[in-house]
Each structure stands twice: as C-alpha cells, then as structure tokens.
Amino acid sequence: MEVINAPRHGSIIYHPSLLPRHRGASAINWTLIHGDKKGGFTIFWADDGLDTGDLLLQKECEVLPDDTVSTLYNRFLFPEGVKGMVQAVRLIAQGKAPRHPQPEEGATYEGIQKKETAKINWAQSAEDIHNWIRGNDKVPGAWTEACGQKLTFFNSTLNTAGLMPEGDALPIPEAHRPGVVTKAGLILFGNDDRMLLVKNIQLEDGKMIPAANFFRGADSSALELTEAEQATAEAVRSAWKRILPNVPEVEDATDFFKSGAASVDVVRLVEEVKELCGGLELENEDIYMATAFGDFIQLLVRRLRGEDGESECVIDHVEKSVNKMTVQMPHQLFIGGAFVDAEGAKTYDTINPTDGSVICQVSLAQVSDVDKAVAAAKDAFENGQWGKISARDRGRLLYRLADLMEQHQEELATIEALDAGAVYTLALKTHVGMSIQTFRYFAGWCDKIQGSTIPINQARPNRNLTLTRKEPIGVCGIVIPWNYPLMMLAWKTAACLAAGNTVVIKPAQVTPLTALKFAELTLKAGIPKGVVNILPGSGSLVGQRLSDHPDVRKIGFTGSTEVGKHIMKSCALSNVKKVSLELGGKSPLLIFADCDLNKAVQMGVSSVFFNKGENCIAAGRLFVEDSIHDQFVQRVVEEVRKMKIGNPLDRDTNHGPQNHQAHLRKLLEYCQRGVTEGATLVCGGKQVPRPGFFFEPTVFTDVEDHMFIAKEESFGPVMIISRFANGDIDGVLSRANATEFGLASGVFTRDLSKALYISDKLDAGTVFVNTYNKTDVAAPFGGFKQSGFGKDLGEAALNEYLRIKTVTFEY
C-alpha cells in the first residue's frame, strides 16, 4: 500500500471485467465461461491486490454469442480501455474523479485459468460447453482427450442453423455423444443433445488445423518452413503490411480482403511476390484462393518448392507408340480431380475398330462411383473456387483448356482414330478442331451472361424495379454418344462450364478414351477439382443413375430417341430435372434440277458418307428431281467408287471402320432389309473383307416411302435415294416432312424463291441451302419433333445450362 499511495493522486488500476464480478485473474475468460451477457472494464483505486478498491469508472459492452477472449479484448476491452484510462486520468487531474465503494453483492472471485484447468467437462449443456471453449480461446485453450491425444478446440459457435451432423464420427470418451467432422467443422453435443460447432482444432503436436480436415491427414496440415522460407514469409508479411496500412499486425488469420484490399491490391501483391521470391509468378486467382495470410504463406511455399497441383496428381497412363508419336491415355474414372479405379476395380476392354484389337482396359463406373462423382461436383459447385472466381477468370481457364487441347490436338486425334475409327485427318479438323473452337467460343461467353432490367407496373406511391439474373443450375449430367466422342463432349460441356455449372460426364462406353484425355487436360488447365468428372460406363448403370440422382439438376443428352425418352422420364420422376435432348434424325435432302450439279453431287456424297455416316445430321434420304435423277445417281456412284477405304491413320484414307462391331452388324441387317423390301442396291451393302469393322459405302435407289430404309436411320454410310416428279415442290416437301424426326434438312437449288419457300416449309431444326453439314460454334444446333429439344452451340446453348431468377424490389 505504501507504493500504491506514494504518488500524489494515488494509483489506479484497469481491470477487464465489471467489478465486483470476476475479481482476480483471467477475468475475461470467466466473463465468457459464465455466459455473461454484458462485459466491460473497470478502473478502480488500487487496493491491496484483491480487486476490491473503490470504483472510478466502468464501461459496459454487449458480449456477443460467439465472442472469444481475443475478440472481446480486441473489439472493446483494449481500444475502449485505453480511452477509459485517459478519461480517468483527466478526471483525477480536474479533481472530479469519484470514489464509489465496491458493492459486495454479486461479487465473484475465480482463480487463474491455465491449460491444466481448461479441460472440458462434457456433463453440461451445449451452451455451457461453448462458453467454456470460447472462454479459453485462444489462451489457454479448452481441451479434451480423444483419439488418443489431447485436442484443443477453438472458434466455437452455437450458430448451427442448417447444419446436419453428417460425416465421420470423432469419438470422445467422456462426451454424451461422439463428435462429427463435417465440412463446416466439428459438431459436438452437450448433454442436452444440442449442437455446437468448433472450427479449429489444435493437435497435441501444436499444429492447428481446420476442424473439417481432421480426418484428412497430412495433405491439409501446415508445412514446416525452413529458415530461408521463414525469412521469405517475413518479407511477404512486410509486403502485406505495406499494402494494408490500416492493419496493426499481420497475423496468420489476417484476411487480405477483409482488411480492405481491393482488386488493384491483388495485382500489387502478385508483383511484390515476384520481386521478393525470385520471380515467382502467382496468378490473381491464387490470392483469391488463399486470402488469409497463413494460408497464403502455405500456398507460396508450396509453389516455391514446386509442389503445384499438377504434380500431385499421378496418372496411370496407357502408352502406345502409334502414328509416329507416343500417346498417353488415362484409363480410369476421373472423380474430384483424380484418376481412380471403379468400385470393385471393375474394368472392360475398349476395342480398336480398325482391327478388332483391345486398346486397353478402362475402369467401368458403378452406381456408387456416380454418387461419388456427383458429390464431388456438388462440393465443387457449392464450396469450391469455381463459383467464387470471377466470370472472366472462368473464361480464362476455359481459354487455357482450349489452348491445351490445341497443343495436344495430334494426340487427341490419334486417340479418336484408335478408339472410334475416326479418319485421322478428319478428326484433326472436326472431332478435335471444332472441339477446340467450341471451348474458345464459350470461354468468351463467360463474362457476357446477363439478365435484364424490366419495367413493371409501379405499386404507387412506391416504385418497383425488376431485374433478372441468369444463374448456373448446379450439378449437370452430360451423356454423349460414340460418333464424335470428343466433339459431342465439347458441344455440351463447354456451354455447361461457361454457364458456371459443374458436371459429371458419361462418354459412350465404346469410346471413352478422348474424354479421359480431356479430363487430364482440365487438370493441367487448372480447372478446379470436382468441376469436371468423367465416368466411362454403361447407360443402364451410369446414365440411369445420373438421370435419377437427386442432386443432379440437369441432363444434357445426345443419342437415340428411344434412350432420350427413357432419360426424360427418369428426369421427370426423380426430381423434375431440366433436360435437353439431341436425338435421332432422318434428315431429308432435296435436290432440284436447277441446282449446281457439281456441288450437289459433291455435297450430297459428304452429306451421307461424312464420318462414315456416323453423323446425327447425315442426310438420311435424298429426294432427287426426276429430270436429273439418273445423272445424279451415276455421278454419285462414280464419286463413291473413288473413296479410299483404309486405316484411319493413313493420310489418304477417306472412309474408315464403323465405330464398333454391334453397329456394323446392324448396318448389314439394315441393308438386307432394304433389298428384301425391293429397293435397288446400286453399290455396297457389304462388310469390307479385311480385319476390323469396315462397311462399304452403299447407295440405294428406287426407295419408296413405305420402306423401312426410307423411315429409319441407318447411322452408317448408306445413301437412300428417292425420286420426285419434275416441279412437284409441295409433293416432295410433304414426303420430306412425313417423318417423326426433325433434326436437319437440306436443299440444292439456284432459285431464290424456291430456296426460301422450302426453308420455311421444312420441319427441321436446321436447313442447309446449297451446302450441307455446315455447322458452326456460333449457330444453334438441335432438332424438332422426336429429334429432341434444346440447342447445342450458339448463345442458345448457354440458356440450356442457366436458370433465370426474377428479383423485384419496391422502394
């Protein structure tokens, strides 16, 4: 007391509680542990050490439900305490400082809180446990024994609204119920069965980890920095301080953006890092992905050590030396950014149609694999970076993907030739070339997706404003056919990703290899894990499960009408999925006597035989005006005879093998039926006598409207020619439209009026005038009637993967 009273005006003391509550040490801790709704500090005239002196002033504040010792101190007790002391000193100086005796009523005294005493007592309510944890956060830290070690809990909250205790159980011997590790953190239970959530856990060795990662082991745990890296970290810390002048101290938890950084500061940080770290080039998105200083240093050190994402992924390639190159083909399922085996390690053989040999074994996805892939896609959509990065950055990733596809175009085209029998030169230009263009085209759309501002009737005297926004749908399932394996994938996936969705893709079972190569390229491009998942497998298992899955909100399908109907039904029954269907066709091509005959012959041949006839818009029927019919047939047959049948990898081949054996068999039956029904087989109709699944280019004439081959799609190199009477435009139109399909159509004529009239009247999603097969990434593509609905390509395709939300304000 002698010391205390020595100064002229006496001594005063700051104490961080509302005295007489929580006299003694650890006052803030106890304020929280006791669940006080009000906290604050007291400045009192010093006494002999039991905090019982007369009160000079007190300041109160509200204690928030999730306050910790640190937050309460930083928010109020420290900044206001400094001001309080100043005020107290002023009052003394002015001679106005009061001395109110401390009441004894309500007084408490608790001892100092240490690690040994901070063990959690589980026999209490969730709220009491929460108060205990936050009352010890961060010092000394509330702990419990579990999993054979001492676990210390931080960042507890009672705000568990919407959380489901679903995840891996974490048994706590003394607790009423085991904890549950979820994506949001560790859910704990009080003896009242209510929940609390802990976000961070400190392991016994001192490592702090997000509670959500408790079971994830090493990959999420912090790196130990070397001395040199420590020095770098400190240099980077200084850079953060320079960029964030208003932050007193840059700590591990300091968030770059919450501390006031704007996008211009992102660029500055990238540049500072380049200077400080020997030219290390980060991307802007790296900073968006690691916004807290601690995380940022981790990311930086990983980059400096060269441990970027790509090298983490080990791909078990099948290698083949073919076409003067070595192709590397992934052959497993692609789920959550990793190539994995199917459940039960199931596989099947994928066959080279050129010789019938096995190319390799491919993982065969099972229902449980679909569920895993959908979960990965859902997580990537809801929690991943894909939804957080800007639309422009999303576009950049897709551009990069397109660039990588271009760099690998020869490899992709070679794989397409091996797996689908695609003629290599055609595959380069179309199968792969157009796939690249498609990704570029849709990459450009990413940041141009927008809604409208719509004037509506005003609710007077107030005013209204209606806006629409176009949002991604969520997890989409894409099921594609075997005729253009990569291109069909690209047509749908590019629009789907540009719109911001995540996707599970099922390539055709017989042609999975370019899709899996594509998967590898998405990793290289830096598309976040889980955004793209690829599952080779059967329609009946994988396609069915995707159509039925409750978390899939959209199915994009290209394939047969029969399967399309089945998918639509499943989509309806499961959860009313949005669906777009690109189905079969029997596209009519009308050739009039006033056409440019050279062009009509050349285009007529390619309208049927392009890609071995495995082309959904292939001209399924040619109607030729009587006066030029015989000449046309003769010239077509001459052209067909010139076609070089051969190994698709040979540069001079223009007709390769059919896609797979079952398809070849169907073509044989199809032609047989044509002959039986009385059509004239002019050439072809047989398998080519060589290994593999080659089928001769075939021409039928005298095909009458009632015949099977006039009505049904062959999907192969079979030209079906019927004649029509000279000048009978309406007659041939009604025959051309007398089909349940309506995918594409074409007309050859020089006459302007005829061309416009026919393009009006043809009942098909596409009409080609004096050309055929001329598709373009910017032009919508899709059918009418039982050829399906919904468009691929063009701006229209984006809308298949978006949903519109209307927001109406009143002000």
Binding site: Y288, A391, D393, Q450, S452, T453, P455, L467, L752, A755
Partner: protein, 487 residues
Amino acid sequence: MAETKALLLLENFIDGKFLPCNSYIDSYDPSTGEVYCRVPNSGKDEVEAAVVAARAAFPAWSSRSPQERSQVLYQLADLLEQSLDVFAEAESKDQGKTITLARTMDIPRSVQNFRFFASSILHQTAECTQMEHQGCMHYTVRDPVGIAGLISPWNLPLYLLTWKIAPAIAAGNTVIAKPSELTSVTAWMMCKLLEKAGVPPGVVNIVFGTGPRVGEALVSHPEVPVISFTGSQPTAERITQLSAPYCKKLSLELGGKNPAIIFEDANLEECIPTTIRSSFANQGEICLCTSRIFVQKSIYNDFLKRFVEAARMWKVGIPSDPSASMGALISKAHLEKVRNYVKRACAEGAQVLCGEGVDKLILPPRNQTGYFMLPTVITDIKDESCCMKEEIFGPVTCIVPFDNEEEVIQRANNVKYGLAATVWSSNVGRVHRVAKKLQSGLVWTNCWLIRELNLPFGGMKSSGVGREGAKESYEFFTEVKTITIKH
C-alpha cells in the same frame, strides 16, 4: 370546286394552346401555284416559350409508366385514324402528292407510327449483370433525355413528323417539333387531337416557321439536348455546327442516290412496275427513291423499252384525281431545280427517253401554273454526271448498263450517299453476296419500301448518322445509366 377564298391560318401550338404569331409566311397549293394558307413565321421567342412549356411538362410526363404513355399514344392513333380522310385530303392539297398516296401511305403510316411505339415501349428492357466474385450487381436503367427537338421535312410531312414524335414521347420526353414551313397543315391539325388523346399540355409543342429562324433557335437552345432531323445534307451540316458547342445527341436522316441493280435473271414482271414506283412514287420526293438503275447488258435494251413504256403509263394528274399516280412537286423553286438537272444531262450529251422535254404534259387550265412534271428517264449518261452523283429528289431516273457483279457493285457504291439500294435477281447466292457488299443502310431485294419498323432504318456515308427503329429510337431518346450495387 367549292373552295373558299379565305386563307387557312395556322397557329403555333405551345403548352396545349394555339397561339397566334406576329408574322406569317405564305404557303402555296402546289397544284395551282396559288397561296392558300399562311404559316406562322416564328422565331426565338416562340421557341423559348415552347422550351418553358416542355420543361414544365417533363417531370410529370417522364414519371408516368410506359403503360400509361402507351395508352395515350394508342388513343392518339385511334383519333387520327378516325380522321384519316380529312388528314389525307389536307396532306395531298398541302404537299401536292396524290390523294391516293396520302390515303394509303402517309396517314395510315402516321397512325401506325403511334401504335408501333405504343406497343414497343412496353417491351423495352435494359440489362442486368452479376459480378459474384466482387459481390456486385450491376443493372442499367434508361431515362428520357429531356426536351427533344424534332425537325421534319416536306416530302412525307405527317408520316416523318410522327415517326419522331411517337418514339420521343413514348420514351417520356417532351418535344418541340418544327415541320417544314412548306407543309405545316397536317401537323397543325394533329395538335387539335392531342388534348382529347390525353397528351398533357407542354408534352408536344409545335413551332411553325423556317429553318433559319425556328430551326436554328431550336438547335442552338441549350435546354434541348437531343435533335432528330430528317432532311438535306447541307442543313445537317449546319445543325451539326450549331449544336456542337452543346454536345447534343444528333440523329440525322439525310439524302440518298439510291441504286437499283437489275441482273439478267430478274423477274421483270415484278421488277419493272416496282422500279417505276421506286423511281417516281411521291414525285420522286422520297429519300429512298431510286435514281440510278443499273441493268445487266444482256437485258438492257429489253428493259429500257419496257421501262419507258411503263413510265409513260405513270399518270401525272391533279392530286385529287384518284387515277393519278403522280401529283405536283413541292414548290416552284424545287421544280426548277429538278428541270435544271435534266437540262444539264442533255448538255452533257445524255438522252432523255421520255418525260421532260420529250412528252407533252396535259393539265386542266386551272393547274397550268401548278408545279407538275412528267416522269423522266435519262440514258447514255456517264457515272460522273451530276445526275448520277447528286440527289435530284424529283421524278427523274437514270438507266445505265453493266457487265458483271463486281463491276456494278463498285459503280453502285461510287457516290457519297449510302441510304437504300434495290437488287433484282432470282439467284439465291447472288442476292446475299451483293447485298453484303453494297454500301447502303438498307438493301431491298426483289422489292422496295417494305419497312420492318423493328429493325434499324438509316443511311451510311453522307446519308446520315444514327438509325431509327424500335430499339434504336428508344436508345436515341433515352440516356442509359449503369448502377452498381455492392452487397
């Protein structure tokens, strides 16, 4: 004729009231050359009064919903339609055009102008975008600009005046319009319908008078931020100069020297009557009229013969004659100007195949002093001749042969104007190819003057700046604002 000798006296319409003027201009009946009407010779003071009225009316009019403004426009359209015949007669008498044309084109189209913008204003939307990574929402709203100054020409008086008034007031602007002092009657008549239609006072103000007095006062008024003008290129230059200090928004629809390109595979049955119409309709006083006809050599002689025959059948008569295809030109001065072009062509050695100086024009005695002229066809003329370069704006057309597609495109494009072109061919490939290469704001293939009001109308090169149409006029008469909200 039971016409009274008393002159029709027009008054300005400002703030919903008809106001006399202290000076007047004589207006002539083009079919007789007699004065029949007096038009206010307004100036700065009247423009100022109109600005005061338009300014006062703007807040209430602009804050009405599109639906409410739409109803007013529909109402005005209905009233105009009910008086269609009266308006048609007045337009024909005032302008010199045939009653048939006024009744089937000018006035119905004026009605349609109001109806079209009454409906299109309901369907205009602006844009809304999201920037999720920045937590920002952006949207645009469009607001009317304020007071719009509208200056319209004498060839299609009410038609082109309403083509400007309708989108301007539909978007919520108030307007000050100046019709041509040569053709002011139907504008004045329309003012009488405004109150009944529910157009509040001050929303539409019409100040009559000349370009140098009223037009210049309007164009250089600081409170009129937007000017829409249809007329000649020299006037447009003057407007641009006068408005420049105020950085006004301008829409300028100017002249043309429009080619018709007729290929050997054209259907002449359709081509000839339509090209006659495109050359001589409204006395050739339409900015879209054809005045250069390029005909492929193989059919040149045949075409020429049939075209001249048809031109001679194109009857010039007094405007009220329902069998007349063509009436009187707008003014004595204009008639002289058009005749002079024909003289200059002759002096250059060109041939006049029919019409002016070749055929005799027969008129009733009373109309001998009217401003009539026969449809005139000139041939054997060089591309460099003034008749092939300058806008004549009368019933005069030049016909020349060509060899091939590339050549004719080059020649067709070789003028300073670029408003409208017609192409005649039945070849599907050719029509698309040629249309794409023509330097022209509009290309009609195998037809002429079929207008789609939704799509942009206007010319390139010296034929103007800006376009008019459902979207384009809306954008012209509104200012867009981008609003960003961070959340």
